[in-house]
Amino acid sequence: MAVLTSLREAVAELVHDGDTVALEGFTHLIPTLAGHEIIRQERRDLTLVRMTPDLVYDQMIGMGVARKLVFSWGGNPGVGSLHRFRDAVENGWPVPLEVDEHSHAGMANRYVAGASHLPFAVLRGYQGSSLADRSATISTVTCPFTGERLAAVAAMNPDVTVIHAQRADRSGNVQLWGILGVQKEAVLAAKRVIVTVEELVDELDSRPGAIVLPSWVVTAVAQVPGGAHPSYAAGYSTRDNAFYSAWDPISRDRDTFTAWMAEHVLDPARVVS
């Protein structure tokens, strides 16, 4: 059963140096403040996994927590490049970053295999793409029934998956709705699960399109209102598009970035406990 705890304690206990860590949320419900807590606790050598590494992973990579990135699209949506990600890949700053790169369909199916506790997933994909030549987690398999050659992708089973959701009850059952991304699969694929929520409630009433992740597949729940900013939580906040634009000049320069992180993330006065 999930324990209700603080974000600081959840990260301290459940995220270790060298772990494979997935922060999921497809544009919506991105667990940004959990990423900041991982930065503050100075985790190192993480393999970061995420379909769409955007601002939160730009920040984590720029602060040196990651050794490797597993992903399928790494940009600032609607704005342009992730400058810290690019600096790490192109110049090895602050530390070199290994990449394992997929398509969205491939990544999504890696989580599906992980959630199903299967060794791999099958899809029609990567035909003729250079991606297949460069990843050890993309291969092919022959259908035993038709003989068709199909793509196979290795299961993704993170040590820790972190998501942000709208609500949890006091037993730690988690409810989320709106764009659901790949969160259910990422949670069920993981060994340990941290969920930050906008709100703790006595009872989870029904919402259109909502799913519930039962308490017994979640390790820790922490209430972190606004934990997805500059992403959003449908029903609670809207996407801060202006911040995504503002991130471009902040992140372009190493010193500007470092100063911004010191003021907005490392400053103890801003810590969410």
Binding site: F26, T27, S81, E101, A105, N109, A234
Partner: protein, 263 residues
């Protein structure tokens, strides 16, 4: 803006969006990439094809946004959608299963066989310039009934051969799609700010079939990084109508207002 566009009262980007929206006139469902494709698809819903079903990879099916989304997961898309499904489902059940007529993609580079690079520009796979990567494009390019590509025309974009093939158009030429087991027809049109390229029916090589008003064949060839072949009878794209321009400009203005207001 070209001299012709200035005289005639529209920009090359506007001509590109209008031509792209017209290319969607007969589609039922369109799997939409963000940026230029999304602009064109939303213009199509307001002009050539009001019933067009827009599918974004965030899992929003039948989205009817009032303003252009900045990301593929803007709340506007979910709030206006007929259905919102999880990401594994959108790729497996809807795209891979062949339920999308048209896939509409942007690109960083396009080669003469309509292959797309959105991953990196460099040598031996080492990035001098790191781009965002594949996203949904490799499987959109494979499974959509047909693919439209829209991108601004330049020699940096239209290259003879890609250093990295993210998403396959026609591979190295005719028959490659069948050999690779790809079920969709591949890129049938590349719509740029200068004109329209289409695959040669015999060789699958991209060939200039239309120039936008005021643009010459020579201009397009100079903006292309290989000796671009052109059709015997290169057409001239019909100019944007006053209504098409008014709808596009109103949509873009409303989008600017909304994203400003949200700040």
């Amino acid at each position: 803006m070209t001299a012709a566009g200035q005289q005639l009262g529209w920009s090359p980007d506007e001509m590109m969006a209008v031509a792209s929206a017209r290319a969607l006139a007969d589609a039922t469902t369109c799997f939409v990439g963000i940026g230029l494709p999304s602009t064109a698809a939303n213009l199509a819903r307001r002009t050539t094809n009001p019933g067009l079903v827009l599918i974004y990879e965030s899992g929003t099916i039948g989205a009817k946004p009032q303003v252009l989304p900045l990301s593929i997961g803007d709340g506007e898309l979910a709030d206006t959608a007929d259905a919102v499904v999880p990401v594994p489902e959108i790729f497996n059940y809807w795209l891979q299963a062949g339920r999308c007529d048209v896939g509409f993609l942007g690109a960083a580079q396009v080669d003469r066989f309509g292959n797309i690079n959105t991953t990196l520009i460099g040598r031996d796979g080492q990035p001098d310039l790191r781009l965002p990567g594949a996203g949904g494009a490799p499987e959109i390019a494979a499974h959509a009934g047909k693919v439209l590509i829209t991108v601004r025309h330049s020699v940096r974009v239209f290259v003879e051969r890609l250093g990295f093939v993210t998403s396959v158009g026609f591979g190295r030429g005719d028959g490659d799609r069948e050999r690779l087991g790809m079920r969709g027809a591949g890129p049938t049109q590349v719509l740029t700010d200068l004109g329209v390229l289409e695959p040669d029916p015999a060789t699958s090589e991209l060939t200039l079939t239309a120039c936008h008003p005021g643009v010459t064949v020579e201009q397009v060839r100079e903006a292309t990084g290989w000796p671009l072949k052109f059709a015997d009878d290169v057409a001239t794209t019909p100019a944007p109508t006053a209504e098409e321009l008014a709808v596009l400009r109103e949509l873009q203005e409303r989008t600017r207002e909304a994203h400003r207001a949200g700040s």
